[in-house]
Each structure stands twice: as structure tokens, then as C-alpha cells.
């Protein structure tokens, strides 16, 4: 049996009277690509922020990368990578300087940083861009660099919050190839997206509606269960049930 790397039970986040995330419970296995779907404002980003230790949950329990979300936040942080919705590398630093910085922050030795930088630059074909300031790169390349930096310290799990929004189809394809490659090396990918074709690439997906998980399974089984032929329809059925019941 595969190892469980994320396990949450009844994870809840309230902002005043508003419940952004309502009793979330699920598990993610090692090297799985776990898709996290939901319309805007359904609590996806809040959930991810709790899993990364950016927000403290109101109640519930959770273990990420084998550590308790409440008691061992520092250990959790050491073992995860995070790529936020907003592009968030230092634009006034070069590609290699960003890598060096984050390698350093995660306590990597200079020698290891150099070796890893070499490897990543080759892997992602960034040879021509490596000495450019990140701010001057096109968005597709920026996202690639952002992924490279968030996985630079070889975390067990990487959280990607809408990594491909606004990116052209070719760059998106390249991005997903990167995700597959990382997953094949044993990294667990936790990804949110609005693109239904991307949802099909995931091993399993969960669909959130109003702070709750309404469905969770592999794309194939979900489509079978709902008796439809695309993830798009599954999503529409769950997110806007009223529209479909009228038909």
C-alpha cells in the first residue's frame, strides 16, 4: 500500500461568521497528482493556505508530509513547496539568484545548490534565460521558473495554486509535462485549476462547492458515476445543480 502524505480530518476555517472551508476530510497518497477543483471563492485557496501553514485552521486535524499541521508547522514547512496563484518570485533577481536564495533559505549547502541549479537549468531548458532578471521573462517561462524554485529543495509535496492561469496552451502543456516528471520521481503534486482538460490529467480530483468537498475520485470514475463524458459536465453538475435539474 502507498504511503499517505496528506491526511486531513474535519479541517475548518471560519472568518467571523463566514465559513470558508467546512469540515474538509481527505487523503493524498505519495507521488499522486491530486487535483483540487472548485469555482472561485469556494475555499480552495484557503484550504491550500491551511495545508501550507500560511493560515491556521479554526478546527480539525491534519498531517502533512508526516507532521502535525498544528504542532510541527516548522517540519511541515521544511518538506513542502508552494507556488502561489500570484506570481511570486523576486523579479529583480536573476533566475539563478532566485534559486540560490531559496536553496539557501531551505538550508541547502552551496555545493548542493550549484549542482541542483545546473540540473534544473538543463532539465527545464533555461540555459538562455538563467542570467536574466526574472521580471523580464515571458509569463510561460516565469511559471516554469516558479515551479523550479518551489521544488528546488526537493520537497515531498508541492502545492500549486492555479499555476497555469493566464498561460498559453503550449506553455501549459510543457508545464504539465514538468508536473508528470516530478510525480514520476516520487513527488506528490497538489494542484488547483480551472481548466477541465487539466483536471483530466490528474490521478484523482476533488471538487469543492461552498467550502465542502462534493466529489472525490479519479476523473474516469467521476464521469462514470455521473453518466457524462467530460469533466466539464461533471463540474457543472456539481457546481450549478439547479441549472441541470430544470432540464
Amino acid at each position: 500500500m502507498e504511503k499517505t502524505v496528506i491526511q486531513v480530518n474535519d479541517l475548518t476555517k471560519r472568518f467571523g461568521a463566514f465559513t470558508a472551508v467546512d469540515r474538509l476530510s481527505f487523503e493524498v497518497k505519495e507521488s499522486e497528482i491530486f487535483g483540487f477543483l472548485g469555482a472561485n471563492g469556494t475555499g480552495k485557496t484557503t484550504a491550500i493556505k491551511m495545508l501550507c501553514g500560511l493560515l491556521s485552521p479554526t478546527s480539525g486535524t491534519g498531517r502533512v508530509a508526516g507532521y502535525d499541521l498544528f504542532k510541527q508547522a516548522d517540519k511541515v514547512k521544511m518538506n513542502i513547496g508552494y507556488m502561489s496563484q500570484k506570481f511570486s518570485l523576486y523579479e529583480d533577481l536573476k533566475v539563478t539568484e532566485n534559486m540560490e536564495l531559496f536553496g539557501g533559505i531551505y538550508g541547502m549547502r552551496p555545493k548542493a545548490i550549484r549542482a541542483k541549479t545546473r540540473e534544473v537549468i538543463d532539465d527545464l531548458e533555461l540555459e538562455d534565460e538563467k542570467h536574466r532578471l526574472v521580471g523580464s521573462l515571458p509569463l510561460g517561462v516565469k511559471q516554469k521558473v516558479s515551479f523550479a524554485v518551489s521544488t528546488f529543495h526537493s520537497p515531498k509535496i508541492v502545492f500549486l495554486d492555479e499555476p497555469t492561469s493566464g498561460v498559453d496552451p503550449i506553455s501549459r502543456r510543457i508545464f504539465w509535462e514538468m508536473i508528470y516528471k516530478a510525480s514520476s520521481k516520487g513527488m506528490t503534486i497538489f494542484v488547483t485549476t480551472h481548466y477541465m482538460d487539466e483536471a483530466e490529467y490528474c490521478n484523482r480530483i476533488s471538487i469543492m462547492v461552498d467550502g465542502k468537498i462534493k466529489a472525490l475520485d479519479s476523473p474516469k470514475i467521476l464521469k462514470e458515476n455521473f453518466g457524462v463524458d467530460s469533466m466539464d459536465t461533471v463540474f457543472q453538475l456539481l457546481a450549478r445543480p439547479s441549472n441541470y435539474s430544470k432540464k
Binding site: L55, F87, L89
Partner: protein
Amino acid sequence: MKQFICFIKKEIYHIIRDPLTLSIMLILPVVLVLILGFAITTEIRNTPFVALDQCRTIESQKLIEKIDGNAYFTLVDAVFSPSEVKQAFRKGKCKLAVVIPPDFANGLLYREKVDIQVLIDASDPNEGSNLYNYLQLIVAQYQKELAQYPHAGGAINTEIKLLYNPQMKGTYSIVPGLIGMIMLLICTSMTSISIAREKELGTMEILLVSPLKPVLIVLAKAVPYLVISLIDMVSCLLLSHYVLAVPIRGNIGLILLLSFIYTLSAVALGLLISAVAKTQQEAMVTAGVGLLLPSILLSNLIFPIDSMPVLLQLLSYIVPARWFIDPLRDIMIKGVGLSAIWVEFLILGSMSAILLFVSIKKFKNRL
């Protein structure tokens, strides 16, 4: 420690890749000290004055023309009554008034001594004393010219009346005060945007997800700004001594130590603002308005704290500039030693420590 150095390196990249900020930080303080220093101690030219000529003779007119003809003074109005003189001062029309009594010409010719009255606006003590000296010179010159004529024997006695600030308080004192002010303005406000900028750009999220401790983030941000601020401090001190001619009578090491502690408190204050503010703009406004105004008002720079209401006096205790400007002035001009100002040292030091501690505490580990 390695994390720390990596982070400092990153901060240095930020600063040197942003030439505008860097030049503001390095050049502006020097320029401000120069401009303001000169604006306050510079030569007097074209000072407006009014004349109340009660004598109305060739002699009295000549004296007025003599004053007007000088580059230092410009006659703006001839007035006809003492109340008009008062009004001219109150409206800010003039900084000096010459009152010539009705018996001026007579006295000049037939008596030993004749009085004229000179009223001077001394609200700026430097300017007031300069005006007084220049006027004395002009009158003396006039007298010399008169001496060529055989009949003119009476000596002109200028009776000076200083308006607004009869004690002529504070002559050199402005320069150390300026340094304290400018350091606070530049260093604090530039530092204050550093953390806020990361929040605004979104890079803060990435830092918070990382295992980096908040104390490291805050301290690493402080280091490069502290270095730049110290460069500023030293260049301002050099300028004030060599260009503005402020004497340095005290121990230079002591001045540098005091400056270091004060700079530390300014940077720590900036970090605190930055840790609390959500955007760069908020940070700038807080640093600019919230700091500058109280610092100017409550630092003994312009307004004497001793004559303030008790409440304001108490409030002035928490203004760092108050604990810097006076001791700096004392070391530079009076040449006092550590024994005279150790209290200020202690207060500034503890202020810096408290500010740093609070900004680390206030720095939110989670969003």
C-alpha cells in the same frame, strides 16, 4: 547563519537593482543637509524693510537711501506712523524697520549723540543677528561719510529692539537637528517600505511557507539599510563640519557611537512600520506624516520642549530624535563627554532594542 547571509544578499540585490531608491538614500540626505544648512546660515540679501521717517530731511532720506542701496536690504514701504510699522511686521511685509526721530538732522548737526531705532524680527535668531550686524555696518559707514562735512558731529546711536525672540536662542544648533531629522525621514521611510513591498508583491507568501524564522527576515532586512544609513550619517557629519562650518569640539568616536545607536533606532522604527503596514503606500504615509511631524515638533529642534505643556513634554519622551539632537549638539558644539549624555545613550539604545523586538513580534508568521 547561512540562511541569514543568503537573505542579506537578496536584500542587497534589491537595493542595488533599484538605482532610484539607492540614490534617494545616499544622495538626498546630503543634498538636504546642504540646502537646509545653507538656507539657514546663508548670506542675507534683499531683506525687506520699512522706514518711518519722522524727520523728513535730506540727512534722514540719505540714511534710508544708504540702507536701501545696499544689497542686504530693500525698502518696501515708507510708513508714517508707529502703528503702520507694527502692521508691516505682523503682515510679514518686512523683517526690519528703521525709525528716524524728528530731531535726527538737528541732533546730527548740533548735538553729540542722536538716536535712531531699529526693530528686527528675530524669530529666526541667525537671521536676526546677521541683520543687526549688517545694519550697524551701514550706519557706521554713513557716519563716516558725514564726517567729511565739518558741521556733522553727532554720533548716531542705533537702539536695537529684537522682536519675537529677544534672547537670540540657537545659532549653530540647527545643523545637528537637521541631521537627526533627515536621517529619520530617509532611513525610516526607506526601510519602512521593505517588508511592506514583499507583502504587496506576494513574495511574502513564499517566505512564510519557507522555514525561515521571522526574526531572521526582520534582521536581514535591517542590515543593508543600517549600512546605508551609516554612510549617510558620516557624510552628513563631514558636510556639516567642512562645508557648513559647524565645530566638532567633542570626541569623534562618541559622535559616531551616538549616530550609530540613533540610526539603529531609525531603522528599527522603519521595520516596525513595515511589519504592521499592509502596503508600501501605507508604510510611506505612516513614516512620513506619523513620524516627521511629531519629530519636528517634539525634538527640541525648533520649539523648546521646556516651554511646552506637560502633556507634550511627556509625549516628547518617546520621540527618538529628542534623545539624539540635543546630545549631538552638545558633543559637537560644547564638546561634552560621555558622562554628560549617558542617559540619552541608554534611552536610545533601549528604544532600538524595544522597537526591534516589537517589530519581530508584530511580524505575522501566518497570513
